[in-house]
């Protein structure tokens, strides 16, 4: 894992804890866990999450990029952001 990817994970985890995870004290979210399956983020939550990723990492994100593959877990976001930054 690159240092950058680790930072993205840390940043995302703190954002998720502050905004979503406090509602689910029983959930210990692992980096690969699926947000939708765990029920911790709904469609409105994803709007917030995408806005956060766009502003924090200064990216522009297209409609069809907002999928489970890119935003479904902390790992997915880290890979997506790293790939976007590299492109």
């Amino acid at each position: 894992m690159t240092e950058a990817a680790t930072d993205i994970r840390t940043d995302m985890r703190s954002f998720l804890e502050e905004n979503f995870l406090y509602m689910h004290p029983g959930v210990e979210l692992k980096d690969g866990d699926d947000f939708l399956a765990l029920g911790i983020i709904d469609s409105l939550g994803f709007v917030e999450l995408v806005e956060e990723v766009q502003s924090r990492f200064e990216l522009t994100i297209d409609d069809i990029e907002i999928t489970e593959e890119n935003f479904g877990s902390i790992d997915a976001i880290a890979q997506f952001v790293a790939a976007k930054q590299a492109s």
């Binding site: 406090y22 709904d42 409105l44 069809i64």
Partner: protein
């Protein structure tokens, strides 16, 4: 001859075109023939487990093949569906099952824990977390329910007195389904993407009109990750997208959507709450080839009116005209019909008016009344409307204090009761605040008992433990004391206007 029953729509297509695709869920396509077979097996199994004609069956399932089979199987067994929001907690499930004296409950494994707890308080009523447990290969019942048979018992929230069960018979649902098919011009070539819960009257109509018209229903359990919706619109060549304002507002946040041609998408519908005029314009810019229908309805009659799309430029804030085959007018407090420009209560006449509220003659009498002519039954909507000179309808406001969030009804009192489960809460007032994404956001204002501390996050978790997802407040504000009005009551207007 009367219209064919909605309970026969599936088998009619299964007989004439069994391979035609009825339903698409994720990667799975289900033909009318397959769906008919699953429905037969469930109907037979429900009968074997004691469900009789006229009984109610609780259905607590997220959008998916099982939800469709549960609805159709229940109707084919001659029983009435009683939808339960899939995010409901056990107290609500117990309450609904007891109120309705339902004969069975169908859910899935994900809900089995919540349902087990609920059903232990209900008593000897069978429930199943897997449709295979109840399905049977014995022949399914063959008699068709008649128009007067109860088809659905759908619960709606009022300001007081807990949920009320709205009774719709087969005749009423068949009528409203045909009426929607007529004004949306639904054909067997349509492919409708339904993201709205089938447990919600608006969501259910899409299943009913697709099965009746031979159209294909593409079913998703919600918006989820919106990129997936865009992919479905393109990949599944969707022709119709129903939404509530929240769905459209989420889609409007997406970059690049307006540049997609989406040549198949021919109509959009909005109901549940009004889209603000600027959002209507933005939706039309984003989907330039699709026609937008602004609609209004309530559980008590499913759908009341729609704005013919050619009127959208002239009167974008109108909800239009009564649905085909029905009538509406506006009355003042004395029951006199009022003319254009005057605000009064919207009255609805037509076969889609509910039979009444389940075992609640008092509440029924307030809403279902004799009409202008002897023997006529009409629905008093409890909503305030006016018309313009040409007779088009405009929604003005609600007469009660219900909050409309994500298109669903949130009774403030139910949320306040949950907040009071925390003994440190002295006072609680829940209000609706305008919100771009939600329509109205749910805000709770609380004060603590002397010497006690309150923590907003803990109170929000308490709400999430007891309430459906859409009822959980977005924001909880702790006050030393709640503001008072001149009558020394909690000043809800000040709180709703942003008083912190």
């Amino acid at each position: 001859m009367s219209a064919p029953s909605i309970a026969d729509d599936l088998s009619r297509w299964a007989t004439t075109e069994p391979d035609r695709v009825a339903l698409i869920v994720g990667e799975k396509a289900v033909s009318f023939g397959e769906l008919d077979g699953l429905t037969d097996r469930l109907a037979a199994g429900l009968r074997e487990h004691g469900v009789q004609r006229g009984d109610r069956v609780g259905i607590m399932l997220p959008n998916g093949v099982d939800a469709v089979v549960a609805i159709e199987g229940t109707l084919r067994a001659g029983a009435a569906i009683m939808p339960i929001n899939p995010t409901a907690k056990h107290e609500r499930v117990t309450d609904l099952m007891q109120r309705s004296e339902a004969a069975a409950l169908l859910c899935d494994k994900e809900r089995a824990g919540e349902v087990a707890e609920a059903m232990s308080a209900v008593g000897e009523v069978p429930w199943f977390s897997d449709l295979d447990q109840v399905s049977s290969d014995v022949p399914a019942p063959t008699e068709t329910p008649d128009e007067a048979d109860l088809a659905a018992l759908m619960h709606t929230s009022g300001s007081t007195g807990g949920p009320k069960g709205v009774m719709h018979c087969h005749g009423g649902l068949s009528f409203v389904t045909d009426s929607i098919i007529e004004y949306l011009e639904i054909s067997p070539d349509d492919r409708v993407l339904n993201l709205l819960p089938l447990s919600f009257g608006y969501g259910l109509t899409h299943l009913l009109f697709c099965l009746r018209s031979g159209a294909t229903l593409v079913l998703e359990p919600g918006v989820g990750l919106p990129g997936k919706i865009v992919k479905l619109l393109e990949g599944q060549e969707i022709t119709g997208l129903p939404g509530v304002p929240t769905v459209f507002q989420v889609l409007l946040t997406l970059r690049g959507l307006a540049e997609r041609p989406l040549p198949h998408l021919r109509f959009l519908t909005n109901a549940g709450a009004a889209l603000p005029t600027p959002a209507i314009e933005e939706v039309r810019r984003t989907f330039p080839n699709a026609t937008l229908y602004s609609m209004y309805g309530q559980t008590e009659c499913i759908r009341t009116c729609y704005l013919p799309p050619d009127q959208l430029d002239t009167r974008p804030d109108s909800v239009g005209v009564p649905i085909p085959g029905s009538d509406t007018w506006i009355e003042d407090d004395e029951g006199n019909e009022v003319g254009p420009g005057m605000v009064g209560e919207l009255i609805v006449r037509g076969p889609h008016v509910m039979q009444g509220y389940w075992r609640n003659p008092g509440a029924t009498a307030q809403r279902v009344r004799e009409g202008r002519h002897p023997g006529e039954r009409v629905l008093a909507s409890n909503d305030l409307f006016r018309t313009d000179e040409e007779g088009y309808l405009y929604f003005i406001g609600r007469r009660d204090d219900i909050i409309k969030s994500r298109g669903e009804k949130v009774p403030p009192r139910e949320v306040e009761e949950v907040l009071h489960l925390d003994p440190a809460v002295h006072e609680a007032a829940v209000v609706g605040v305008p919100d771009r994404l939600l329509g109205e956001a749910v805000h709770a204002h609380v004060s603590a008992r002397e010497g006690q501390e309150l923590e907003p996050a803990a109170l929000k978790r308490l709400c999430a433990e007891h309430l459906e997802d859409y009822m959980v407040p977005q924001k909880i504000v702790v006050h030393d004391e709640l503001p008072r009005n001149q009558n020394n009551k909690v000043d809800r207007l000040a709180l709703a206007a942003g008083g912190e």
